[in-house]
Symmetry: D2
């Protein structure tokens, strides 16, 4: 069902794509008990219900309230409750307390979603050409915004359900593929020459492909020659690091990373535990043995960096990654495969796994490209104001929609974040 | 409906009383949405679902698992999830994280309750005399334990629903009585002579009336002559304190109280806010204007003490309170009135409002009576281990069951607690 | 030298006693390096320099500024810097930051002391009878205040010097007595009958003996029959508790105590460590082996209570303690012995060690006696405002001046405090 | 005196430069009271005594203990006490507790310094050529290390003395120059063309000029065309930002910056306060009126970024700054001028104030240059492990030694740091 919804998404027209994305969000909630919708273990992991409402609020605030003449809001208080961080729009309900909103109920939020979805559809079908010119870029932004929240909905649910010592699964295994017996070959290095390369895109009005403002503008960067591993670091490789005492040697760690390790008591990736000599981890499908050949997932930037130091390597810069990614296809183990976990590499030819499986930490801190300009108006708060203290991740993961990702796409998280589907590949100077 | 359930409770036999108490807990949840059952704003305010499960766990752990030969537990993990603080029974799931238990679902918890209720009934009907001698005191303890959690369920819900800026009511006004026009006469003083008085009870095996271990044993105390106000301090009287700058004058406050006031930003009782010159407060029935004649509620020990200092008075000791209470009837504005709020005093004859309306802060810290012995076994953790740092409150409140309370009953909370239905009356030395 | 200063103190007239107390404070600092005067590890342990200045500020603020017509303050800013907690006098420099006051320098503080001492002397010698009636009670209060700070100065220094991993001693051993070989006999019980007893004192104007307001008024209390251990709990006895796993058994502990134990990682008294199977502790004389026969010291109320529970005993109430203490002499191992540590009991006849050695935790929370009235004016903040959340300790310690203590004297600390010279004796119901 | 010591420093041979740097550290302490040496208000601001000892520890640990055959350590415990963060050398005394080390005393630390200084001198005079090849680069590193701590000593002292409400000055005004009447001309823009530029240096063995490992290796970077302000932002310009409500408008701030502003209550630069409509600030010379023409100092990265956003500008990247700085001389208002504060620009010709006055925040996060390799051994912890979460500052300040700085020099602090002498200049895309 998911697969069907995802396929050929890019061919559809705006309204149809809008409808399909709105539907997918709801499909992702099909297995939830009413009680699951409200879970929030830490400020960062919002309740599923909040994601459902906030994505609707986005369309309501930035489109319906501005451009749909006769639109009547479902509830005027939602403005305050479901604003995430747009100061230009007004005050926000405290992020860490979203789990305290038992009302509106799940049922009411679904009604709210329906009202918003129908109203946008109607607007798209009735608007003048002039109005459409204003509205369509915002609908496009809203679609990509909702796809981001689909991923967060799953990522947050994983973390929140994990707090329950009964470890309830998000769903039963959906895919019939099994990867347990597969063993991975040693990683190989792919070389890239030094020189000026072009990074980023120019977001032209009327462009057929969407980009966020943080991917702009297109600009030149000089790269020294370098090489990238042809695949992601695997669980099996990381277990070697653990067992060699990697978590006990300060010399392998960044200073802030060592402090974070001690403060948080990190001794393995998030969700991992060892029982009778074997590693297991919690997944959206429940507790599973760790597959040695699968890509490592749920580690912080600091752990990625320490592993790379241990391997006398380093993480790639975001420009090195993008330069490589522009040369391969953008397909991979994304949400539509329904694996909901990273899977072993299937090929040794060429550079693999750049897209899907796990978000790849880069050594680049998230900052504006030369010439960066935020969007105008309140949506200008979307990206630019986060350009400090975070690191760039690239390539999407097994819980990302494939049509949401591209080679120039920049995701970003704080270096101690582990609840994202984050892993990495190694790089070296030549 | 509530009223019917409450009446004549003391006449019923053990099983019938057990069933009625179990039913009342569920009646109290009738108006809740599934989403409301999981709310927990701070560690102290457990989710309604947790109260429903924990009270069942109590009967299961201390009676069924020990005395019901063929009892099969609903789920072996509940032992860990729904233990509150009994270290002798085992580890506990962290208190502050109870809101993260979306599973078991509400429906499953009701199934669990039914299993436990039915199994206790069956045990009471099938047990030998010898077994009944062991079981009945524990059933009695369990009944009073569940009544305590009925009150906590309402008290916690009030706090948790209040976090929602839409301020949902727990229920519509149930009672037809109205108290808005009533004005209160000035308080009067009731005098008590000095001398030796008898405090507490002896909990004899086979006694017809139940007491907690902390009310024992009966002992003598010498009291100086004193006087008590004939009624509780009212909202109107407390507003005078607020408006005279009581919250800004350190000389009125205990040192720890002044620190708590500053740290928490207290400037009025919990749930109060002022709009256009008039005070309102959140109640279980929604937002209401503050009734000037009603007893003050939801203040800390520190605020009670500061008010008393401002009035050149003091709080009563628990012995002074008990000595007075032994001389009046134990009826009052309890849960069965369905007011769910304290109400104005109706009489000026004699000392009023000792029972019901609000728990009365005393100046006595909670400590063992001379000769105190905790219960044997794990239930010995019920009371004794809390005998430090808390203050005694007396008399029950508008959300307490009337048949749960008596003159010797000792409740206890930390001096900065405000979410309980807590108020006070003044005392003076003669 | 110390001994000489202390002896016969009660016989001297006011001025002479004032001078001797002022001198003693300075004698206690003789061994300090300039750098030591500023140490403050936590908010509670003020720098020695601050104690030197604050005790002078007390005389300056409450006497000189009010009654010495031509007094010129050494520095007007000292009002703010050296006020401890008297809100009626004005704002205070934050307690936790006292170590940041490198200026005034130590030398300047000694100059300030001299000015204050000389000015008080002069006032006492030149005042009219009427003025003396007002001034002498305040000088008396100031003397006792300074004696309290002498003890705190040593207690705080012990804690602050202990933070240095080189463990510098406050001074070399001064006394020639040695107690290493002494072994203690088993404790015995002293019985007391039930009945009404008189507790506290009445502080009459013109009384020849000083008392703090918190010891007043004299009042009657009914005591059940009880027995007290004839000596303090020893280090050797407490080691048995440690080695039997006392710190690992929650059932022995108060609930708040168990939380404090876990949070602070307590596994032995403060200052203790084990090396090669033997216990050592830091003392004012440097690192020493723990003497098994000496009284246990530097434990919290919670540890005292847990030990008593382990021994099927309890702590005495403050009234039980006072009733016993009124029957013995007030001499003991006080500051003038220069041991600076508690020492083994020397006699088995009668109840021992009630005075000196260590402050004895009682199970009584610190609260006003019936009819308590604080002093008038700003000095009214001296005691009353601390009457919540603390426990009463009795009898003085090896760093208290003997002429500062009496049977009715009430000291008080929070139940988690361990840096005081605090120990305990056991009690039981008869 | 300072000026004399500083002049021509680069011409001297190693030993003479070593001696002069060691002497300068002590000269900087000439005005301190013994009590001042121990001040530490927060973990980041180490006591002066600790700086004096740690810089000696550095020479002792990395040179004397390794290469001076018969060297006898002054005290074996100093290894633990004065190690800053070198995990490879061993455990460290907790940073936040350095103020608790009253021993060793100031006098002992000066003795320790003398021993280390003499021993290094002796080693330099007696070592073989082969040994000198190993030792001289480490002496050079130690000299630059000590120069960094000279600056920190003053920076930390400023912060620590400021905690005292008497605001003691570090010293009286030394310089005779006065800048009060000077008014600054409007800033002008200097343009730079796009293209490949060379950044950084190669640290060749035997190189006559010193560089830290973080400045290496030399590499190419492509810059878009840009322009830089010809001078630093002034106090007067920043007051316009304050008075236009800059601290109240979230849209001007990075998200983390806005959070920091709220959490810390920032409403002006550190050390500033307003009295009767005029701005004053605390300086090393005491309280002074804010000079409107002087460069702004003591602001965080977030404040610099918010100001730049308000001015529709941005901060320069570190490469843009370095490219400009390579074209001008490295002289400026450094430590030897003895102003100890930034001063107004004296010229409008060419780009001014790149060197001295204040460290300039750049928008570049601190990260390894392409091809970066840390030093071998324990000194490898000097720089590399801090390459996350900090931002690069350039150009040195009025408390930096001029011979310590060069165009390629990279300093780095967290974006919320304000106690450094930090300011900024504006940049724009062309």
């Amino acid at each position: 069902m998911l697969e069907e919804i995802e396929s050929n998404a890019s061919l559809l027209n705006h309204e149809a794509r809008f409808i399909r994305v709105r539907e997918l969000t709801e499909v992702l909630c099909e297995n939830l008990a009413v009680e699951d919708y409200g879970l929030q273990a830490v400020a960062e992991t919002s309740p599923a219900k909040w994601h459902l409402a906030h994505t609707s609020w986005f369309f309501e605030t930035f489109i319906l309230c501005k451009y749909a003449a006769d639109y009547k809001a479902y509830d005027s208080q939602f403005e305050f409750l479901f604003n995430s961080y747009y100061n230009a729009v007004g005050e926000q309900y405290p992020r860490a307390k979203r789990h305290l909103l038992s009302r509106p109920t799940v049922e009411e939020v679904f009604e709210y979603r329906k009202l918003v979805t129908d109203s946008i559809s109607q607007l798209l079908n009735s608007a003048t050409e002039d109005l459409l010119k204003k509205v369509i870029p915002l609908v496009e932004l809203g679609i990509h915004h909702e796809q981001q929240h689909q991923e967060l909905l799953l990522t947050d649910l994983k973390y929140n359900l994990f707090q329950n010592p009964m470890f309830p699964a998000y769903c039963a295994t959906r895919s019939e593929a099994h990867f347990d017996g597969i063993s991975s070959s040693p990683a190989q290095w792919s070389q890239f020459d030094s020189g000026l390369v072009t990074i980023g895109v120019n977001n032209l009005a009327g462009s057929s492909t969407f980009s966020f403002d943080n991917e702009c503008p297109k600009h030149q960067v000089y790269l020294n020659s370098y090489e990238l591993s042809n695949r992601l670091v695997t669980n099996g490789e990381y277990i070697e690091f653990i067992e060699s005492g990697g978590y006990q040697q300060p010399k392998l760690w960044l200073s802030d990373g060592w402090d974070a390790r001690k403060k948080n008591g990190w001794a393995a990736p998030l969700y991992w535990f060892k029982r009778e000599g074997r590693w297991y981890h919690y997944t959206l499908l429940g507790i599973k043995p760790v597959n040695l050949s699968s890509p490592l997932c749920h580690i912080s930037y600091y752990e990625a960096d320490a592993y790379a130091t241990w391997k006398s390597s380093r993480l790639p810069t975001e420009e090195e990654w993008e330069h490589a990614a522009l040369q391969v296809s953008g397909s991979g183990n994304f949400l539509h495969t329904e694996h909901l976990e990273p899977i072993p590499v299937h090929s040794e030819i060429g550079i693999q796994q750049l897209f899907g499986d796990v978000w790849e930490w880069t050594q680049s801190s998230y900052r504006p490209y030369p010439g960066f300009k935020p969007l105008e108006g309140a949506v200008g708060e979307y990206n630019g104001k986060f350009m400090a203290n975070q690191f760039v991740l690239r390539g999407g993961s097994c819980v990302t929609s494939q049509d949401h990702i591209r080679a120039t796409y920049r995701n970003f998280f704080y270096p101690d974040a582990r609840w994202q589907f984050s892993g990495f590949r190694l790089a070296r100077d030549l």
